[in-house]
C-alpha cells in the first residue's frame, strides 16, 4: 500500500458521534498526497477522484483497501445520524502475551495509530431505506484480527438485530482470530455463531460481505454463514492461508485459487458485487427478503 492509500484510511469525516478523544494522534500534521498509483494497472489516480469512486480504480476495477469508517459512510443513508455501538470496548491482555512486543503495547500503538479502540465498527441505521445493524472490520487495526472485543461487538450486533427484528450485515476484512488472545479468541467464533443462530430464530436475514482478505477464524465462523454471501471482486477468501496450503500439499496452487471468483465457481458464495454496487444490491436483496416494496 502506498502512502496515499494510508492517508485515505486515516480520513474520518464520517462519524460525528465518535468520541472526540479518538481523533487522529495530535502533533502529527497530516500531509495528504494528491495521487495514488493503482497496483492493478499502474494508472495514477487523483485521490479526490478515488474517494468519489469509493476507492475503486475506474480503469481496472481494482478495489483498494477501505477503512471501516469510509466503508460505512458509503453505505449508510444518513451517516451523521447513525447510532454508533460499543466503540467504548477495550481489549484486555488476559494472557499477558509477549512476542517481539507486549500485546498491551501493541494495543496502545494500534489505538493511537487508528484513533479507534479495536478492529471493528458497529452502527445501526438505514441502508437503502432498510433499518439494520451493520458493522465493518478495519484491517488496519492489527490485521482486522478478532479478539474478545471484536467477538463481543459482533455478538451484540446479532443480538440487537434479533431483539429489534431488523436484518444484520457484517463486512469482513480479517486475517482471523487474534493470536495474542490465545484460545479465548478461538472461543469468539462460538460466541458469535451462537448469537447468529438466535438471529436466524428471530426470522431476520443476515448478509455477509467478504472483502480482501477474509481468512482463518473469521472465515470459519460468521463470515461464511450469511443467508446471502456477497464478495468484492478479487478478494482472498479461505480457511488456511495460501502459504500453509502450498507447504502442506507440496505443489503450486492454481491461478486465482481462493479468490472471490474461484469461490463463486465452486458454489461457496452467492455473488460478486463491485463496491459501488454494494449498497443498491444490499437494499434490493433485503427488501425482497423482507417483502418490502422496492425503493422509490
Amino acid at each position: 500500500m502506498s502512502q496515499g492509500t494510508r492517508w485515505f484510511e486515516q480520513r474520518r469525516d464520517f462519524v460525528a458521534s465518535v468520541p472526540p478523544d479518538s481523533a487522529p494522534a495530535a502533533g502529527k500534521p497530516e500531509t495528504p498526497e494528491l495521487f495514488t498509483k493503482c497496483p492493478g494497472c499502474a494508472e495514477v489516480v487523483f485521490n479526490d477522484v478515488l474517494v468519489k469512486q469509493q476507492f475503486v480504480c475506474a480503469k481496472c476495477d481494482h478495489h483498494f483497501r477501505v477503512g471501516a469508517v469510509d466503508r460505512l459512510r458509503a453505505l449508510c443513508d444518513d451517516p451523521p445520524s447513525v447510532l454508533l455501538h460499543d466503540a467504548d470496548l477495550l481489549a484486555r491482555d488476559q494472557l499477558g502475551f509477549i512476542d517481539s512486543k507486549p500485546y498491551a503495547k501493541r494495543l496502545v500503538d494500534a489505538r493511537k495509530k487508528s484513533g479507534r479502540n479495536d478492529a471493528f465498527i458497529s452502527v445501526a441505521g438505514p441502508v437503502a431505506g432498510v433499518d439494520m445493524e451493520i458493522g465493518s472490520f478495519d484491517f488496519s487495526f492489527l490485521g482486522g484480527s478478532m479478539g474478545a472485543v471484536v467477538g463481543e461487538m459482533i455478538t451484540r450486533l446479532f443480538e440487537r438485530a434479533a431483539d429489534r427484528k431488523v436484518p444484520a450485515v457484517v463486512i469482513s476484512a480479517s486475517g482471523g482470530a487474534r493470536m495474542q488472545e490465545g484460545v479465548l479468541s478461538l472461543m469468539q467464533m462460538a460466541k458469535t455463531c451462537a448469537a447468529l443462530a438466535r438471529l436466524r430464530d428471530a426470522g431476520m436475514p443476515y448478509v455477509s460481505v467478504l472483502t480482501h482478505p477474509t481468512t482463518g477464524g473469521v472465515a470459519a465462523s460468521f463470515a461464511m454463514l450469511g443467508d446471502v454471501i456477497v464478495a468484492e471482486p478479487g478478494a482472498l477468501i479461505g480457511f488456511a492461508g495460501p502459504r500453509v496450503i502450498r507447504e502442506t500439499i507440496g505443489q503450486e496452487l492454481p491461478a486465482g485459487f481462493q479468490t472471490s471468483e474461484y469461490l463463486l465457481e465452486h458454489g461457496l458464495i452467492d455473488l460478486i458485487v463491485s463496491r459501488p454496487q454494494l449498497k443498491p444490491t444490499l437494499g434490493r436483496l433485503l427488501r425482497q427478503l423482507l417483502n418490502l416494496p422496492p425503493m422509490g
Binding site: 467504548d88 470496548l89 477495550l90 481489549a91 484486555r92 488476559q94 494472557l95 502475551f97 509477549i98 512476542d99 517481539s100 479502540n117 479478539g147 474478545a148 472485543v149 467477538g151 463481543e152 455478538t155 482470530a177 493470536m179 488472545e181 490465545g182 484460545v183 479465548l184 479468541s185 478461538l186 472461543m187 469468539q188 467464533m189 462460538a190 460466541k191 455463531c193 451462537a194 448469537a195 447468529l196 443462530a197 438466535r198 481468512t215 482463518g216 477464524g217 472465515a219 470459519a220 465462523s221 463470515a223 461464511m224 454463514l225 477468501i237 479461505g238 480457511f239 488456511a240 500453509v244 496450503i245 502442506t248 500439499i249 496452487l253 492454481p254 485459487f257 481462493q258 465452486h266 461457496l268
Partner: protein
C-alpha cells in the same frame, strides 16, 4: 514400538533397569528385592519430579504422543454395541472423524443409571503408524468430516440421544481439496448448528485441540480436558513462525499462548480437568480411559434432567461469557 520423549527418557531407562533386575531375580533365584525396591522409589521420585513440573511444550508433546488413547480406544473401553456410521451424504466419508451410536457400559451394582443408555459419539481419529495415519489423514478432517459429524448430531437430536465428542486434531486439513469444498463454511456451520442442538453435549479435549478444526465438534454444554492435552487458537509452531519468524521458537509460543489444561480451566474455556497418572496417558491408557468415563458420566448425569430450553441457554451462556474486556 515404544516412542520415548526426551524428557521421560530417564524414567523409562530406570524402569527398564528394574525390569532387568526382576528378570535376573527370576532366572537365578537370587533375592534382589532390596535393590529393586530402592530403584522403584527412585523411579517414582524421578517421575514426580519430571511430571510435577512439565512445561507447556512438554505437555504439547504428550498431547501428540502416538500411544495416547484415541477416540476409538474410549469407544472400546467405555461402551458396548458400537455401530460406526459413515459419510456426509454429499459424496465423501472422511476417516479423520469417526462417529456412531453405542450404549454406555453397565457398571453393575455401582451403575449410575446410564448403563445401557444409548449415546452418539463423534471424534477425531488419528493413526498409530504411517499406514493408519495415511488412512486417517493424521486426524486432520476435511469439510466432509465436519459435515458427517453434523449429520450425526442431528440424528442424535431427532431421537433424543445425548452427544459425546472427542477432540484430538492438530487442526482442520489445510489442503487444496478441503478449501475447494468449503472448509471454512463446514467448520462455521458446525459451530453455529451445535449451539442449537436440543440434546446434552459433552466434549473431551483428549489430545490436541487444534483451533477451528477442534471447535467444530466442541460447542458443548460441558467441555472437559485431559491434564496433558492442549487447546489453542494456533499450533505453537505456527504461532512461532508468524510472531517470531522461527518455528524453533515453538516452546516459547506454547508458553505465551496458555494452551495447557490448567490455563484453559482458569480462562473458563474448559469446565473440568481430568487428571492423568504421573507418567502420562500414553503409559497409563486404561486408567485414563476409566477416569474419562467417570467424568463424562458424572457430567451427563447432571445435564440429563435439564429441559431443552435450559440446555440451550446453558450452552449459549457458557460461550457467551468467554473473553474479558473493559469499557472506556
Amino acid at each position: 514400538m515404544d516412542v520415548v520423549l526426551d524428557f521421560e527418557r530417564p524414567i523409562v531407562e530406570l524402569k527398564r533397569r528394574i525390569q532387568q533386575l526382576r528378570e535376573l531375580q527370576e532366572a537365578n533365584g537370587v533375592d534382589l528385592s532390596a535393590s529393586i525396591e530402592q530403584l522403584e522409589v527412585q523411579a517414582r521420585r524421578l517421575q514426580e519430579n519430571i511430571f510435577g513440573k512439565l512445561t507447556p511444550w512438554q505437555r504439547t508433546q504428550l498431547a501428540r504422543h502416538p500411544h495416547r488413547p484415541y477416540t476409538l480406544d474410549y469407544v472400546d473401553g467405555l461402551f458396548t454395541e458400537w455401530t460406526e456410521l459413515h459419510g456426509d451424504r454429499c459424496g465423501y466419508d472422511d476417516h479423520a472423524i469417526v462417529g456412531g451410536t453405542a450404549r454406555f457400559k453397565h457398571l453393575g451394582a455401582a451403575d449410575d443409571g446410564l448403563g445401557g443408555k444409548p449415546v452418539l459419539i463423534v471424534g477425531h481419529q488419528k493413526g498409530r503408524n504411517t499406514k493408519e495415519n495415511l488412512f486417517r489423514n493424521f486426524g486432520m478432517a476435511r469439510p466432509d468430516g465436519y459435515r458427517k459429524a453434523m449429520r450425526l448430531f442431528r440424528l442424535a437430536e431427532r431421537f433424543g440421544l445425548p452427544i459425546l465428542t472427542f477432540i484430538d486434531t492438530s487442526g482442520a486439513y489445510p489442503g487444496l481439496d478441503a478449501e475447494e469444498r468449503g472448509q471454512a463454511e463446514a467448520i462455521a456451520r458446525n459451530i453455529m448448528e451445535m449451539a442449537t442442538l436440543k440434546v446434552p453435549v459433552v466434549c473431551l479435549v483428549a489430545g490436541e485441540g487444534g483451533s477451528g478444526g477442534a471447535l467444530a465438534i466442541g460447542v458443548a454444554n460441558r467441555v472437559l480436558m485431559l491434564e496433558n492435552s492442549v487447546y489453542s487458537v494456533i499450533s505453537p509452531e505456527g504461532c512461532a513462525a508468524i510472531l517470531w519468524r522461527d518455528r524453533a521458537e515453538a516452546s516459547r509460543a506454547a508458553e505465551a499462548l496458555r494452551i495447557t489444561a490448567s490455563d484453559c480451566l482458569s480462562l473458563g474455556v474448559v469446565d473440568e480437568v481430568v487428571p492423568e497418572e504421573l507418567g502420562g496417558a500414553h503409559r497409563y491408557a486404561s486408567q485414563t480411559v476409566a477416569a474419562v468415563g467417570a467424568a463424562v458420566r458424572r457430567h451427563l448425569t447432571e445435564l440429563l434432567p435439564l429441559s431443552t430450553q435450559e440446555l440451550l441457554d446453558d450452552r449459549y451462556d457458557r460461550f457467551r461469557r468467554l473473553g474479558a474486556f473493559d469499557a472506556a
